[in-house]
């Protein structure tokens, strides 16, 4: 067996390249495909000889000898067939793996705004399932070139050698059957398209009825809806019946047409045996070949269908098959010092949309904590997100004197780490979720986020699986794991957007203290609506809903900002009441 590997492919948007890439496999398919299909004709020939051997009254030994030869030949042919089948499947497997890899690579290198803009997740999952259909079509096509094309040719040639006249007349109907099948293809396509359309319509209606069930129920609409749903189901049933009958029940009819020539075969062939031109064995060989050819011909329509389906799928996945990309990982950043300077920063999602924040200016350096707060929808999170550099911004964000957008994506990821509301955990172990493959030790960072005690109750320790999206952990545990991931690289700038909403007050205080003590080389931007922790930070940015902002330390804002003071006091009296989530 050849070594298994999955590698990128060049010019993945050309189908022919998938055959070119698998040179060895394709070579094997050709060799075994040709040898198997050509030698297949030996089966019926020896079967005929077997019959002849008992008819001619030869000795038992001869018959046994022919019998053994027959079995031996079949074994050889079938071994060839095994290799052919195996390599065709290997080809399909390789191709599907390369396509999947290429599509994945394409997705992962799309910009974040492209990924977020439409419901691309669904589109992509569909594209992935299209890979299966497409490869299935490619496999069938490859198989049928040999198993239909070569085999039919081999049979017809042999039959011509036996008797060209009988063959000429009897096989006339075979192309007729194939032509009818080909012509009916468009009709079948029409009906099956109508069925598929209706089927997805009914699925939509079903979804609507279930998704909005409470709306319909509260308004007493369910019984009226059900009646019309029944009509839709009836219509769907009719369409399904038509499409199915045309697509799958027609094959026996094609077979009948292709078989018409059997009359000629039996009559002329039989006469030839009677006139001692053929033996009974040859007669039986010939009939076997003829029936096999007719059967292949009647199944040709299936081949047409599968190729057509595969083309449709190919068209859908083609846009995602682009050249393989990988990130440039050269890095020129100053790891020792950090100076952040934000001037007149503005930010909006998409060109036509309104600015969420405007004219934000502040400065900071390593070892500082900058607090950001404000009412709902004042742009706190947006401000944090703008440091990621994944979305375009207005104004200037300079790190060590260089504009953020002028750094490469890789450099940015090495300077800034960001934690949003969503912990974004992978269904993997705690260790892998924090290190993401960097291989670092996580003991100290786990202590920083106060996870060491949690870990003691987990028998698997750092190798505990967190479940899909982290479901096996509590909300507070999830956000602390995500926080550990954000902290582990001790990046120059660490942006934390409300990381403690699911963490109790006491742990929150402890974590803040740890961060203050252990991350003196980082600049920390802490976004929160809970002002109690802000007495500890170096400076505070208070965003207002009207896109203005106030700056200052806790004490300064307590004096100068009425809003800040009011909220602070309210939150103090309201106690823990605010941790709703």
């Amino acid at each position: 067996m050849a070594k298994l590997k999955i590698e990128p492919i060049k010019e993945p948007n050309k189908m022919i390249n998938y055959w070119k890439k698998e040179k060895f496999v394709v070579f094997c398919i050709i060799v075994f495909g040709l040898s198997f299909n050509i030698s297949t004709v030996l089966g019926p020939i020896y079967q005929g000889k077997l019959i002849d051997s008992i008819l001619n009254g030869g000795s038992l030994r001869t018959t046994v000898k022919i019998g053994i030869t027959f079995v031996a030949i079949i074994v050889c042919i079938q071994v060839l067939r095994y290799f052919k089948r195996f390599y065709v499947r290997r080809f399909a497997n390789n191709t599907s793996a390369s396509m999947r890899l290429m599509i994945y690579n394409n997705i992962m290198h799309k910009s974040i705004s492209e990924l977020g803009s439409e419901n691309i997740g669904n589109l992509m999952t569909r594209a992935i399932s299209d890979v299966d259909l497409c490869v299935e079509g490619m496999r069938k096509f490859t198989t049928e070139i040999f198993d239909t094309g070569v085999l039919m040719a081999a049979y017809i040639v042999s039959m011509f050698i036996y008797d060209w006249k009988i063959t000429l007349f009897s096989t006339l109907f075979i192309p007729v059957a194939m032509i009818i099948a080909e012509k009916l293809k468009s009709v079948i396509y029409k009906y099956s398209a109508a069925f598929r359309k209706k089927s997805s319509e009914v699925a939509d209606i079903t979804y609507d009825a279930i998704e909005n069930s409470m709306v319909y129920r509260a308004n007493g609409m369910e019984s009226q809806n059900r009646l019309s749903y029944n009509d839709e189901l009836e219509d769907l049933k009719d369409k399904a019946v038509k499409a199915d009958i045309l697509e799958s029940s027609m094959q026996p009819i094609y077979n009948v047409i292709a078989m018409i020539g059997i009359i000629i075969v039996i009559y002329l062939g039989g006469t030839k045996v009677i006139n001692s031109g053929w033996t009974v064995g040859v007669f039986s060989t010939y009939i076997t070949m003829f029936i096999a050819t007719a059967k292949k011909a009647s199944k040709a329509s299936k081949l047409f269908n599968s190729v057509q389906k595969s083309q449709v799928s190919w068209k859908r996945i083609k846009p995602y098959l682009t050249e393989y990309e990988s990130k440039d990982t050269s890095c020129h950043i100053d790891r020792d010092n950090t100076a952040l300077s934000v001037k007149n920063l503005g930010f909006c999602y998409g060109e036509s949309k309104e600015n969420i924040i405007e004219n934000i200016s502040f400065e900071g350096r390593k070892g500082e904590i900058i607090g950001v707060t404000g009412p709902i929808a004042s742009g706190k999170s947006t401000l944090g997100l703008s440091f990621l550099g994944l979305y375009p911004y207005i104004g200037s964000i300079k790190i060590d004197g260089k504009e953020l957008k002028d750094y490469s994506e890789y450099e940015r990821s090495q300077m800034i780490s960001y934690l949003g509301h969503d912990p974004q955990l992978l269904s993997d172990t705690i260790y892998n979720n924090i290190t993401l493959g960097s291989g670092k030790d996580i003991n100290s960072v786990l202590k920083d986020v106060c996870f060491d005690t949690d870990l003691k109750s987990m028998p698997e320790g750092q190798d505990t699986l967190v479940g899909n999206g982290g479901v096996r952990l509590s909300g507070g545990q999830q956000s602390r794991i995500a926080l550990a991931r954000t902290l582990i690289n001790k990046n120059k700038i660490i942006v934390l957007d409300d990381p403690f909403s699911a963490v109790d007050m006491k742990t929150e205080e402890k974590i803040i203290k740890n961060i203050k003590n252990n991350y003196k080389n980082s600049l920390i931007i802490l976004i929160s609506h809970r002002l109690t922790i802000f007495s500890e930070v170096n400076q505070i940015i208070l965003l207002h809903g009207d896109k203005t902002a106030e700056y200052g330390t806790h004490n300064e804002l307590m004096k100068s900002s009425e809003l800040y003071r009011t909220i602070y006091n309210l939150q103090c009296t309201n106690g823990g009441d605010n941790d709703e989530r």
Binding site: L4, I6, L50, I54, G67, I68, F70, Q78, V79, R90, R100, L101, Y104, I107, M108, H109, I120, A203, I205, T206, D208, A209, I210, N212, S213, A218, N219, S223, Q224, L233, K237, V241, D244, S249, P252, V256, M259, I260, I263, I264, G270, I274, K327, P375, I376, L390, S413, Y418, G420, Q424, L426, L436, G437, N468, R485, I567, L570, Q571, T573, N574
Partner: protein, 581 residues
């Protein structure tokens, strides 16, 4: 499984289509019998014409052979077509029954089951069941008959040969099943891995921001390739079985043929059959393998469908709502709008015993009173509304309107009693007018236009391409605020005396909020309004505010009174006014 939905549907379809069934039975018998004829004709030709070299009636035999082929074709076609029709009828019937169930199912079902999952019960599971019925059960019957027919035909040639066939039959079946089982095992393994691959893709989407911000595209791709590789290896296993199985069957077939021919050699004279019989036996034996193979596949498809049947039957056994009192009419319950007495009589509610959502609630609400419920998220406010509308049944106590238990009001009358608006407008499939009427045929065009006019959407709707009849294909033609106004139009179109508003301004900005509130103020003149919200309490001048805490009424009274004597309410209102979360 006795009185399951699936069984009932299948039995019902069978009973309702007696003629089709009889025809199917006839066609199946015809297909089995005719498929035995060609070998017999062949035997006759060889023994009667070819061996004695006699061309008497050779042409007739040739035509007879063709006639048999024609009948086989026709019977096969009819068989496939009839099975398709019956299968589709079963599919439809199951769906109809499921839709009926959906109408009666308890409202809790929808909160604990995702729509997508329920839809797949209607689509994927039902499809699997119907294909089990057609290609599984019916196919199995057909194949059994075929095998029996072939065995009998061979037995008629020679009893000894019949015994030989009976001996090899279970051997072939055992080999086939062994392979199929192994293949199924690898396929199941493979499916789990495919699940992993797909999960990785969707996870990559969900966490795209995190992956990009840490530049971990490479890491994710490596993991992806790892999963692909595992998947790749199991596919290779499937490929191996898939490639090796048909060759083995062919080798067995050749060996059996060789043995039979040798045994029928005159010198041994063990079987004592003619050459024609040998040729016919060869053909019959060849035909024996196909039904055995499909028998295994059919068994498998039945096994696989069993989980689908289980799921559909589980759905069918979900608890239902109690019967409604169909004699109750809205006009009798509420003769005049001025006289409404809505009372909560010591109600309690829980989903799971021991964890009460609501406990001992006692409230009385009078005509045209405006009541606002406040409390933390998860305190059971929305549940309370569902109880008021009679969508859920209180575990203890009752809610009555003028003495009538709301739970007994039939769904079809509810729209004339309650208008319900919640924070998310559920867009349904259909036109703008249908968004308001929900396709209720008893609602006139005038009512729809009045409702749109009342909420101030008439002018906007008039600017749409087809006005009221514009098809709403996606939600984008309405802004968030307009959707909320549309939701109000939907609620008031039947002019119900009681309005239930669930956080309806939660997703709106302050300008749209004002618009919605002004419409509600207008509506307030003639309606009893119950709302859930913090901010609305002051905006629509509630008469009464009910504060819920831990499932109980913590405090209740006029807003002025609560502001004075409830500290929590006071600071809550203050924070809300500042839009601080």
């Amino acid at each position: 499984m006795k009185d399951s939905l699936v069984n009932r549907s299948i039995v019902k379809v069978i009973k309702e289509n007696i003629k089709t069934n009889l025809l199917l039975v006839f066609v199946i018998i015809g297909a089995v019998l005719t498929s035995l004829i060609p070998p017999q004709v062949l035997k006759h030709i060889i023994d009667f014409n070819l061996v004695p070299k006699n061309n008497d009636k050779l042409l007739t035999s040739a035509f007879a052979y063709m006639a048999a082929i024609l009948f086989i074709g026709v019977f096969d076609f009819l068989k496939e077509a009839l099975i398709t029709i019956l299968g589709q009828k079963v599919t439809k019937e199951i769906r109809v029954e499921m839709a009926e169930k959906l109408e009666k199912i308890n409202a809790r079902f929808f909160s604990s089951n995702e729509s997508g999952v329920v839809v797949s019960r209607f689509t994927n599971d039902v499809d699997a069941i119907s294909s089990m019925f057609t290609s599984g059960i019916i196919g199995m019957v057909v194949d059994c008959f075929k095998i029996i027919g072939i065995v009998i035909s061979i037995w008629m040639f020679s009893a000894k040969l019949g015994v030989i066939v009976l001996i090899i039959l279970p051997i072939i079946y055992a080999i086939t099943r062994t392979f199929q089982k192994r293949m199924l095992k690898s396929q199941t393994e493979n499916r789990i891995l495919v699940g992993k691959v797909n999960n990785h893709i969707s996870e990559s989407f969900k966490n795209a921001q995190m992956i990009k911000s840490y530049s971990k595209e490479d890491y994710m791709e490596k993991k992806y390739v790892g999963y692909l590789m595992e998947n790749f290896k199991t596919i290779e296993k499937v490929n191996f079985y898939d490639s090796v199985f048909p060759p083995i069957i062919q080798i067995i077939r050749a060996s059996v043929i060789a043995v039979i021919v040798i045994l029928s050699h005159r010198q041994l004279n063990f079987l004592d059959i003619s050459v024609g019989m040998v040729a016919a036996t060869i053909e019959l034996i060849s035909n024996l393998f196909a039904p055995i193979e499909s028998l295994g596949m059919e068994l498998q498809s039945i096994q696989q469908a069993i989980s689908g049947i289980q799921r559909v039957n589980d759905f069918y056994n979900e608890p239902e709502d109690d019967c409604k009192n169909s004699e109750l009419k809205s006009d009798n319950i509420i003769p005049t709008r001025e006289k409404i007495d809505l009372s909560f009589n010591d109600i309690s509610f829980y989903y799971d015993e021991g964890t009460d959502i609501l406990k001992n609630i006692n409230i009385k609400i009078n005509s045209q009173e405006k009541v606002t419920f406040v409390g933390r998220t998860g305190v059971g406010k929305s549940t309370l509304f569902r109880l008021i509308m009679g969508l859920l049944k209180p575990t203890k106590g009752s809610i009555t309107i003028n003495g009538v238990d709301v739970y007994s009001i039939p769904n079809s009358e509810k729209r004339k009693v309650f208008g319900y608006v919640n924070q998310n407008f559920h867009m349904i499939k259909g036109t703008v007018a249908e968004q308001v009427s929900l396709r209720d045929k008893s609602i006139t065009r005038e009512q729809i236009e009045d409702a749109l006019n009342f909420v101030g959407l008439s002018d906007y709707v008039a600017t749409l391409e087809n006005g009221c009849d514009t098809e709403v294909t996606n939600g984008n033609i309405f802004s968030q605020g307009q959707k909320q106004l549309l939701a109000i139009a939907r609620a008031i179109v039947t002019n119900p005396p009681i309005l239930l508003l669930d956080e309806i301004t939660a997703n709106l900005d302050s300008i749209t909020e004002e618009k919605v509130v002004s419409v509600l103020k207008k509506a307030g003149e003639a309606h009893t309004i119950l709302s859930i919200s913090h901010r609305l309490s002051s905006m629509i001048n509630s008469d009464t505010v009910v504060i819920l805490e831990k499932g109980r009424v913590k405090n209740m009274g006029s807003p002025e009174m609560l502001l004075q004597n409830d500290e929590w309410y006071r600071s809550h209102v203050a924070l809300e006014k500042l839009t601080w979360s």
